[in-house]
Each structure stands twice: as C-alpha cells, then as structure tokens.
Symmetry: C2
Subunit: 331 residues, 2 copies
C-alpha cells in the first residue's frame, strides 16, 4: 500500500534511502550502482510513483520530435511501422526519435521521461511491458496493438475480423480441420482477438476449434510436431488440413518444417499467416496472409497523437485488414 | 563560377533575389512557394554555398542525439543498420533521430542543417545524393558505403574482397562462365569495388569476364532474359552457369525468374548474392551470399563519429566480409 497519495521524486528518494540525484539518474538511465538502481526501482513500484508531468502546463516551446518505441526494427513489420511513421511525421515538420527497446522496460521508461520533460512532444509505443503504471494521464502517448486502459489510446488492426477472415478462407477452401497456432508474449494485447475471430468462424461453420497456444521459450517446432502427430492419431476429427498462424514469422517456420517432412502446401495443408510481410519489403508475400494496413496505422498514430482532442477517437481505434493470396492456400 | 569566396546565407538571398527568411525556410524545409524554392536551390548551387557551421565553435551544450540518414528502412539491410546503430548509441547515452530520405536531397539537407545548428551532434548517412557539396569540413558526419572526399570519412564493407570471394566460390564450385550482374544507382560508391573483385578473380583464374550492368529504371528481368538467351547462342563461351549479383535483393528476383523458366539452382546455375539478408532478420539466408558485418559497421560509424580524433582512422574504413552458404551454390 502506498503511504503517499501522489508521490514525488523526493518521496521515492526517501523510500529508497538514497539521494534525489540517484533517483533522477535511474529514471534518466544514467550510470548508477546496481544496488542503488534496485532500491530506486523497488521504491517506484511500492509507492506507485508516476513520472511527474506537472511541467507540461508550463510548456513554452515544442521540440517537434516524437519518440517511437518498438521492440526492434529487424522484424519487417516493425521496420515498416517506423518507415511510414517517419515519412508522415516529416510531412508535418516533425522528427522521429527511434527507440529499439528489446522489451527492456527501463529503456522505455527513459523515453517516457523525456516526454515528461518536454524533450519530445509525444510517444508512439509498441510494447509488451506494462508501461501504463508509469504513464500519467496527461502524457501524450499512443499505443500500438496494446490496450492498457482508457487513458492510453490504442491503435490496432481489426484483429478479430482478421482472425475470422483467415479461418473462413481456410474453411471456404475446403479445410475440415483448421487449427490456430499462436506463439508470443503472455501479456494480453489487441492481437489476442485473432483467436476470438478464429473461434467464432469455427462455431459459425460447425467446426470444433483446435488451438496450439505456445509461449516464448517453448520449442516451437517440437511442440508443433507433437501437436500434428497427436492429431493424426485421433479418430474423432479429420487430420489437420488447415493452419492459421498468429503471424507470418511463425507461419514461415511451420512451412519450412512441413516441407522438411514432405507435406505439400497447399495440397496437403493450407496455411494463412497474419501481418502481410513481403520479401525484401515489396517483392511478394511469403504466404497467404491477413495484411495489416501499416501505412494507415502509422498515419493514425501520428494524427491522433497530434490532435488537440483525443476524446473524439474511439478506444481502441481499429483499422481494416485485408486477405492477400500468397500461394499457401487453394483460394 | 562563384563570385563569393566563402558565401553566406545572405549572399544566397541576394543571388536568388529573395528575403533572408526565405533562404532559411528552404534550408530548414519549411513551407515556401515552389518558385522561391527553385530560386534558392539554384543560388545555393551557383554560389557553391555550404551550410555555415561557424556556430560550432561556440557550442556550450550537446544534444546527445545523432541523426541517421538512410534511403528507407523497408530494405532489411538498412533496417538492420538502424537497429544496431540505435542499440550502440543508447549504450553510450546517445539517442537516434531517424531520417528516411527516399533519396531526396532536400530532406538530407534538412538534417545536415540541424547538425550545423547543434540540434544534433552528428550525422551518419547512407546516401546516393552528392551531399558533399553541402557539407563543410568541420561538420561531424560519417558516410556509409559512399566515398565523397577526404573530409568525409567513409565506413564500408571490404567490397573488393567480397566480390573476389564470391567469384572464387563460383569458380571453385565448377562454374565455367560466371557472370556479374549489377543494378542500382549510377553514382559511384564503395560498392562498385564488388565489380573489381569479380574482374580480378576472373583474370586470376583465366576466365573471360562477362558483366550485365543495369541502371535504375531498366526492366531488370527483361534485360536478364536477353542477356541469358544471347549467351546460349554464343559458341565462343560455355553457357552461363554462375551468377554473382550486386546484392541479395537482385539475387532474389533472378532466382524467382530462373525457377519460372525451370532452371534448377544450384544444379544448372549457381548464384551468390551480397549483403547477407536473412528471412525475417534471423530465420536463414535467402541464398549463398557475401554477408556484410552490419553490427560492426554500425559500431564503427558511432565510434568514429564520437572520436575526438578522426585522423587516426583510414579513409575509407573497411570491415571484413564473410561468405555464407545459403543453398544456391554447390559449396
């Protein structure tokens, strides 16, 4: 329980038993002894301290810079988000500061703190950390794919419809046993709705759903191999003949494995991914897929972030997806 | 011929017949009438005006921000450059400002001007524009792949050795008629040395070189088809049985075409690309390739840019490449 109704950086210093400058260093990610860092981080948690943004009311000048927080930009989906965000910001005379967080909460916190100090005008973040606990209501921030709470507006694809569409495509192309396979973070995000789309499409077509739900750290291929083999031994269902994967990255790994065990795609098993990744960004789809409208997502994040009245936008703010044929389905 | 030995922004305004504020707007990429923009740009060229950086001597504080200029970050090679540059800068408490120039010189100029105004501490640029004419000697800038002149230090892969290695691999794997195929900008860069590596490897092995040199705008596949067909009609050389492409992007396009005309790779034709692009950044190489040391290139750019004494580094500063087997060669 917090002993302070609205804790300040000074309260954190007192709670941690360190100097105020040490707290500042931790928040600003400056070098500081590991034991001090731990003390300060524990105090921040136990007090439920949020980076103080009172200074925003005093703001006299803008930086015309927006920080974009992504897990990395090696992943082609994230890279294209960064690409279109930069292009659109520049049209509006804004600059982009890029943060590849690698999922490190303290790195994300560093940029959030920059926003509170007016060093950047706002933040667009795609994160799996629960940064909502660090974000106060008046901090200008837009979340991609992750729905924190009502104070942080979330922009995402219409993942439910995407999941429904992918499953309907498989069923329409003749699949009697379409499965959904997911891997990734255990944190709840908008992307979980892909599963609900799958479930509803199965129900509407009188098909028993079958899901393989993996988490980071599982041996993806080993789990998939077992799942597939067990399905072939079952007498109550037809063999697996359709796969909807949570993203193209997972779909690619499964396609490689299926080729290695001499399964023909799409003849034996049809597959639909999600994201719409293309070879080298523009040289054709890896697989049949639900394409996310990356350019529109980037534009919506910028438009809403810079809008004086965010309350006019629904939360989450969803954008339409599209099915793209990419050779791994019959239709 | 310039009438001013060391032209200032005022000289540009006089030459263009516009107000000083208009010149400032053009250089800072602010909205301005198209005819004014053209007048100012012509004046900049005719006076050989370089963004004035005298204010650097008065510098009292740093921004701890570096601008990275890339053509785009959809291309996976550029995306990984940005990724590793950001990670390494952050370790050193620097932030990254990202500019996707799309080859637009005026967008690059905007960031160069930010550096001259101390809004960023330096620039790392991969550009096909001749920005050297806008860069004064004391501007902290590092160029990737493009060797402007002795005042701008260039970091690049050892492209000559890469070209030599690729060709030797093809010859060593039995190719009697290995060709080099290039497409891209006509601007001379470090990457042109890939051709010299190819030529020398051919000469050392007693093989007549054969090059298809395409430029942006050519129909790549159509030109390649003609090149291939003509080679089959020649009696003086064996049919083409090996291809070294200037990059993996071109290699991927040729592989797709060769499959479409039922050529087997590597049985009929072996192929080596350049760059070392992997599926989804980490899921295996597209083809046998000369991999660029992207992480080391990024680190070298940052280290040299932040070094107080750049004169201790050779120019160009070259980093070693590595051959990676990726299924499109016999070895």
């Amino acid at each position: 329980m917090s002993r302070y109704s609205n804790p300040t950086m000074k309260d954190v210093a007192r709670e941690a038993g360190v100097a105020l400058g040490t707290v500042s260093k931790v928040i600003n990610n400056q070098p500081v002894g590991e034991e001090y860092r731990i003390k300060v981080e524990n105090a921040i948690k136990s007090l439920d301290y949020k980076v103080n943004t009172y200074a925003r009311g005093l703001k006299t000048k803008q930086s015309y810079t927006i920080a974009l927080i992504l897990p990395d930009i090696i992943n082609p989906f994230f890279a294209s988000i960064a690409h279109y965000t930069e292009l659109y910001l520049f049209e509006l005379n804004y600059k982009l500061m890029l943060c590849c967080s690698q999922g490190k909460c303290e790195k994300e916190l560093f940029y959030i703190n920059m926003a509170s100090q007016n060093k950047v005008d706002g933040i667009i973040a795609l994160t799996y950390s629960d940064i909502s606990s660090y974000v106060s209501e008046d901090l200008p921030i837009i979340s991609i794919d992750r729905h924190f709470n009502n104070t942080v507006l979330c922009v995402a694809s219409d993942n439910y419809t995407g999941g429904y569409l992918a499953t309907e495509k498989l069923i329409g192309a003749g699949c009697k046993h379409p499965v959904y396979i997911r891997t990734g973070s255990v944190v709840y995000g908008e992307t979980n709705k892909r599963k609900y789309g799958y479930l509803d499409a199965c129900e509407h077509n009188g098909i028993t759903p079958d899901i393989l739900d993996l988490t980071d750290g599982d041996d993806t291929i080993e789990c998939f191999r077992n799942f597939l083999e067990q399905s072939y031994e079952r007498k109550d269902v037809p063999p697996i003949d359709g796969i909807f994967t949570v993203n193209d990255y997972l779909g690619f790994q499964l396609i490689e494995y299926l080729h290695s065990i001499h399964k023909d795609i799409p003849e034996d098993i049809q597959l639909v991914g999600f994201d719409g990744i293309q070879h080298f960004g523009s040289l054709g789809y890896y697989m049949s897929t639900i394409a996310q409208p990356v350019e529109r997502i980037a534009k919506a994040c910028v438009d809403i972030l810079l809008s004086p009245d965010k309350s006019k936008y629904p939360n989450p703010y969803l954008l339409p997806v599209e099915y793209k044929y990419g050779g791994t389905t019959l239709l």
